[in-house]
Structure formats: structure tokens, C-alpha cells
């Protein structure tokens, strides 16, 4: 009977079904968007140079103290290459310094890399908009970001000066020539990071008087790219045992903002979800209340002829659940199709690219949701429907048959 009652007023029922279905669709799309955005952010961070894992000497990343070195590069390489999960690695010398041109000066992180290794780990080579990725030339080549190029008014083949402390804590400066300009879409990164060859950087930081340090062994950061991002924690644990005394960090630990961002996005989408479900609750209450109020006489009759309160209550709740049962698959299907479409084709956010880029987001967002979200959503809506049905159902059982019937 509950099923037939649902179809007593088909238009009204379809309005509720559509509302529930649209709610699920909106919630799924929102989750897809949020997850997609988060992954885009994380991926861009990983691609830009973080990698999946990084190894440093303990405390190095706090002050970039050049005394805190990793074991010699040759030894480290041997150990890393033994890892079956490893896809690629890049040995870097990282110093904090200043980039200056005739136009001005900016604080930058100078990353000394080996071109071949770096190309395998990060996507900087693909993000070049001008120039080449370390062409064969005589030393002191630098790759800079579009943002820095604009701020310091630098062009391809411009000269710039990088100033930083050497191993002996003396200030060193050297002229570099811009050989390439990259645009990762992440403004803070593009404005604050330059890439040079590790060989050049090592030569500059080792003082001429220092004859004990082997130039090619000096390394401060090893960035690792794994075959599968899910293995991050396993490999991190392995490396911690293999390299006692060194600091192994996953991309989340390297960029704590990633974790913050992840949780922020999750919080925001949770808030939206609650808002959507609340709107659903009131929509359902409204409709079911109407369904009860227009049937007062009939409900009075049902109670008069012997339908007890529990049955009346269950009937109203069941009617609501049936609406949910019809609506949920429709909403899930719509959501699934939308997410799948946008997962393949992406949504072009270039209209907002400036704002997006300043948060380090790419211009095209690909939706993504964890499979569990569909179940969560279905359960959430189901519980919402039951919750929303309680008030109208209580209203129904509080009716006194004699009043409900008006006249007997």
C-alpha cells in the first residue's frame, strides 16, 4: 500500500525523487571536484619536484645548513638502485639564496640537479615554455620560472646572479645564463625555484681552499619517484632501516600544506554535503507532511477500523524510504556518469586560472572519487530519508481518529 500511496500524486513524488537524485548528483560531483582538485594539487606538487619520497640529512630542511649532507652520492645511488619499487631518483644539491638581475632581487631555492636524473623524476622539462632543458653548453646554465622571469625582467639567454652561502659559510655569487623558462601553473613555485646543474652548484659551494670534499659526492636531497604512489609508506619504512640516521619523508611530510589542503578540501566538501542533506531533509519533510495532511481523513479511517499506530508510522516511513529507493540509483547513476565523463575529459577552469594557479592548481580539473563514496552517499541519503520521515509519521500517529474523521 505504501508503494501505491507514493504514486497517488505522481508529480509530487517525482519532484521529491528529482530533488533527492539531484542532491546525490550534486554531492557526488562536488566530492569528485574536491577530490580531483586535491589530486591535481598533490600531483602538481609531486611532479614539480617533490617526488614521492625525499631523503635529507636530519634537520637539513629547517635551515638548509650545508653542513648537513647526505652520504656520498655514489653510495646512496647504489642503495637506491637496489629498491625494486623505485622508478627514478634525482640527487640534488639544494641551497637557499637570492636571484638578482638589474631589475631587482628575489629569494629563491636553488636546486642543483643532474639533468637526466631530474627529467625522470619531475615534469619540469615538460613545463618549459621557452628554451631547452640544460642544453650542452659550458656551465652555469639556469632554468627559471615564468613568474620569476617577469618579476626580474629576465628573458631567455639573460644573465642573472645567484648569491648563496658556501660550505665554509662565506657568501658566494656567480653569474648564470637563463637557458629555459618553465611554467608549472603554480605561481609560488615558479617565483621561488630555480634549477641549475648540480655540478656547477657543487663547484661553487666548495671553497677553493677545501681539498677534502669530493665534488661529485656532495648531495643534500634525494627525490624518489616510485612505481606506485600507494607504496610510499612501505618504501619510506624500508629506507629508514636502510639509511639509519637519515630523514626519509613522504610527499605529505615534505609539503605539510598538502595534508592541510587535503583536510581542508575534505572539510569543505563535508560542509557542503551536510547542507545538501539538510536541504533534502526539509524537502522530504515538506512533501511527506503534505502527503499526511491531505490524507488526514483517510488516516483517521485507517485507525478507526483497526490500523494501529505502529503500522501507520511504518507506512509513512516506508513511503519515504520507497521514494529514496527510487531516487538513489538515479542520483548515483547521474553522479557516476558525470564523474566518469569529467574524469576522462576534465573541466577547463582556465577562466579562473590566475586564482587557481596562485593556489598551485592546474587549469584542468579531472573529477575523481573513491569507490566507497557511492556507498556512503547511498547510506547517507537512506538515513536522511528515514530521519525526514519521522516528523510527518509522528504527526500522523498523533491524529485522533474521531477528530480526523471530523464526523462519524
Amino acid at each position: 500500500m505504501a508503494w501505491r500511496n507514493v504514486w497517488r500524486s505522481p508529480t509530487r513524488s517525482w519532484v521529491v525523487i528529482s530533488a533527492i537524485a539531484l542532491g546525490i548528483w550534486a554531492a557526488l560531483s562536488l566530492t569528485g571536484f574536491a577530490t580531483g582538485m586535491m589530486k591535481s594539487y598533490v600531483n602538481s606538487a609531486i611532479e614539480n619536484s617533490v617526488g614521492h619520497l625525499q631523503i635529507h640529512a636530519p634537520g637539513f630542511t629547517e635551515e638548509y645548513d650545508l653542513q648537513k649532507q647526505l652520504p656520498p652520492a655514489s653510495e646512496l645511488s647504489t642503495q637506491l638502485e637496489a629498491l625494486p619499487q623505485l622508478q627514478a631518483y634525482s640527487m640534488r644539491t639544494v641551497v637557499s639564496g637570492m636571484a638578482s638581475s638589474s631589475q631587482g632581487a628575489r629569494g629563491v631555492m636553488v636546486k642543483g640537479v643532474e639533468p637526466e636524473q631530474e627529467a625522470a623524476v619531475s615534469a619540469i622539462e615538460e613545463k618549459l615554455v621557452e628554451g631547452e632543458f640544460f642544453p650542452e653548453m659550458r656551465g652555469n646554465a639556469v632554468l627559471i620560472g615564468q613568474e620569476l622571469a617577469e618579476k626580474l625582467n629576465l628573458k631567455l639567454r639573460s644573465k642573472m646572479v645567484l648569491t648563496f652561502q658556501g660550505l665554509d659559510r662565506e657568501i658566494t655569487a656567480a653569474a648564470f645564463r637563463v637557458v629555459g623558462i618553465f611554467d608549472t601553473g603554480n605561481t609560488p613555485f615558479d617565483g621561488g625555484t630555480v634549477f641549475v646543474e648540480r655540478e656547477d652548484l657543487n663547484r661553487l659551494i666548495i671553497a677553493q681552499a677545501d681539498t677534502t670534499t669530493v665534488q661529485s659526492d656532495l648531495v643534500y636531497e634525494a627525490a624518489l619517484l616510485l612505481n606506485d604512489v600507494d607504496q610510499v609508506d612501505t618504501v619510506a619504512a624500508l629506507l629508514e632501516t636502510a639509511l639509519p640516521g637519515q630523514e626519509v619523508k613522504t610527499y605529505r611530510e615534505v609539503s605539510p600544506d598538502l595534508e592541510l589542503y587535503e583536510s581542508q578540501i575534505q572539510n569543505v566538501s563535508m560542509i557542503y554535503l551536510v547542507v545538501i542533506l539538510l536541504a533534502l531533509v526539509f524537502g522530504i519533510i515538506n512533501t511527506m507532511l503534505m502527503a499526511v495532511l491531505e490524507r488526514i481523513k483517510e488516516l483517521g479511517m485507517l485507525m478507526a477500523i483497526g490500523m494501529n499506530k505502529l503500522r501507520v508510522f511504518s507506512m509513512i516511513v516506508l513511503e519515504t524510504i520507497l521514494l529514496g529507493i527510487v531516487a538513489t540509483p538515479i542520483g548515483l547513476l547521474l553522479g557516476y556518469l558525470t564523474i566518469n565523463y569529467v574524469r576522462e575529459n576534465g573541466i577547463n577552469m582556465s577562466a579562473y586560472s590566475e586564482g587557481m594557479a596562485s593556489y598551485g592548481l592546474s587549469q584542468v580539473i579531472y573529477f575523481d572519487v573513491e569507490p566507497g563514496v557511492y556507498t556512503q552517499m547511498a547510506v547517507g541519503v537512506f538515513l536522511t530519508a528515514i530521519l525526514a520521515a519521522i516528523y510527518p509519521a509522528l504527526k500522523a500517529i498523533r491524529l485522533k481518529p474521531v477528530d480526523a474523521l471530523h464526523s462519524f
Binding site: 483517510e298 485507517l302 485507525m303 483497526g306 490500523m307 499506530k309
Partner: protein, 227 residues
């Protein structure tokens, strides 16, 4: 044997504000197999008395026994079960369930009584035949005329084999032919199967067919005629 006994039944509406005494001590005994009309002018308390006899309302004073049980002290839930087993209702506005067919409407109370499907089907078909609607079993109320709907309502009231049937102005919305038809059916059920009927009515055609007429005036029994 009396199936309904009321003793000193009083009903006061709005006892705290402006009290309205609808019933002022009604003593009545209705025997099994009677065909009783409760009549009286508007405001005489007919509907109130029927509500109280039917267990839909409680008296302010006095008591009501149905089949020997005092229903005026029963809890709401017990009363609902009691009504389901012992009282059949026929309402002025038919009050069938619009989404169910004639047969399903008749079966409904039996469904609440947890009777088997086969039993429900058989009894519903038998009752619909008794009210002359054997060819309308699959019709929904909207597809039936007022007279036909009221006959389904009578069949529904009979379905649980109640102690008696209460009918509130059952012919108020019917034309003469449907009224005569319905009264024939009820009279036959009364005479052949001994079903006890209690009506409230204004309708002279019903009053003429009744074998007992109880007249209420100002909340009291003014006249009690047996024919």
C-alpha cells in the same frame, strides 16, 4: 443478549472553557440482531453517541460495554485492536482507500488481522458478491459510483465478522435508488445472517426500514420505539 450497553453516558466538550454538554446520561441496550436507527435533530448528540459506542471517543462519565467488555477504560492501543476485531464502520463519505481495489479494500482489515491470503480472498469475494459487486472486485473507488462505493464499505465493515456495524449517515450522499439498494442489502444481512446494525441518520427512508428507532433530543433519549 445485549451487545451494546451504555450506562449514564455523559460527554462534555471543552470542560475547562465553555463546557458544552453533548450527552446528558444516556442509558441504552442494543440486542444482537437489532436493526437500530438513532435519530434526532442536529446537535442532539447522535454523532457523539456513535463515536463513544464505536470506541473512537471516551465518555466524560458513565461507561460503555461492547460484548460484555467495558471499552471506556481501555488504552488507545487496546481500543484500536478492539475496534479491529469487534466493530465494523460505514462512514458517510465511504472513506475507502483510494489506492486499493474493491477487493483489497475489503481485505484490508483482515490483513491487519493477519489472516491468510486465501482466506482473505475468499471472504472478500463472498462479501462483494453479497453486496452485488462481484463484477467490480478489481475496480478502484474512483471507478465506482457513490452507491457502489458505499456497498464496498459495507462489505469491508463485515469482513472481520464484527459484533456489530456502526453506520454514520450511510445514505446521506446517495440517490434514492442507491439508498434503496443499500438498505435492501443491509436488511437482508440483518435478517438472514443476524448482523447487528446501528445507524445514525436523518434519512426518513432509513428510519422507515429500521426496526428500532431511538430518538435523541438535547443529549438524552427522548423516545425508544421498537417495531
Amino acid at each position: 443478549m445485549a451487545v451494546i450497553t451504555t450506562k449514564g453516558v455523559e460527554k462534555v466538550y471543552n470542560p475547562d472553557k465553555i463546557p458544552v454538554k453533548a450527552l446528558k446520561g444516556v442509558d441504552l441496550e442494543i440486542e444482537a440482531g437489532e436493526f437500530t436507527a438513532i435519530v434526532g435533530p442536529s446537535g442532539s448528540g447522535k454523532t457523539t453517541l456513535l463515536n463513544i459506542i464505536g470506541g473512537l471517543d471516551r465518555p466524560t462519565a458513565g461507561y460503555v460495554e461492547v460484548g460484555g467488555e467495558d471499552i471506556s477504560q481501555m488504552s488507545d492501543n487496546t481500543l484500536i485492536d478492539f475496534r479491529k476485531e469487534h466493530i465494523g464502520f460505514v462512514f458517510q463519505a465511504y472513506n475507502l482507500i483510494p489506492v486499493l481495489t474493491a477487493r483489497e479494500n475489503v481485505e484490508f482489515v483482515m490483513l491487519l488481522q493477519n489472516r491468510s491470503k486465501a482466506e482473505r480472498h475468499a471472504r472478500a469475494d463472498e462479501l462483494l458478491k453479497a453486496v452485488g459487486l462481484e463484477d467490480k472486485v478489481h475496480k478502484r473507488p474512483a471507478e465506482l459510483s457513490g452507491g457502489q462505493q458505499q456497498r464496498v464499505a459495507v462489505a469491508r465493515a463485515l469482513a472481520p465478522k464484527p459484533t456489530f456495524i456502526l453506520a454514520d449517515e450511510p445514505t446521506a450522499n446517495l440517490d434514492s435508488e442507491s439508498t434503496a439498494n443499500l438498505l435492501d442489502i443491509m436488511a437482508r444481512l440483518n435478517q438472514e445472517e443476524g448482523v447487528t446494525f446501528v445507524f445514525s441518520t436523518h434519512d426518513q427512508r432509513v428510519i422507515d426500514r429500521a426496526r428500532r428507532v431511538v430518538t435523541l433530543v438535547d443529549g438524552k433519549v427522548d423516545e425508544d420505539l421498537r417495531r
